[in-house]
Symmetry: C2
Subunit: 78 residues, 2 copies
């Protein structure tokens, strides 16, 4: 039986990098991974808030909200 | 072939919660997941820094550092 994992994002480059790496690295045999773009589906913001999401990108796993921050290397911006 | 994923932590409750949920949710068929307690293995701090880790808990996946913050509900502290 799979458990639900929801990855909330808002389309920003940080979100997309995290989605590609973290959400796709989850075991899809155990987790039913749903990706929700809160910028495009604002009706689900309340649901995300109720799950404890304070910022995006965030991953809700087993009912716990984990906020993911990808520390972009400043060197990449030079 | 499996890729390397390293979960760095320092033994704090937030780290442990993130480790149990996020690191264990990864697809172990595709990722060789190593858990490193930086408080106990200080020799690996430099390695973590080189990978872009600024704070723990953090997950280094495909060479990218993702900082994970579990937003503990304030209600749980009341």
């Amino acid at each position: 039986m799979t458990q639900k994992a929801v990855f909330y994002h808002a389309g920003c480059p940080v979100c997309v990098a995290a989605e590609r790496s973290v959400a796709e690295a989850l075991d899809h045999g155990r987790y039913d991974v749903e990706v929700v773009h809160l910028g495009e589906d604002k009706r689900r913001v309340a649901e995300a808030e109720a799950a404890g999401v304070k910022s995006v990108p965030a991953l809700v796993l087993d009912g716990q909200a984990f906020h993911i921050n990808y520390g972009a290397a400043l060197d990449a911006l030079k």
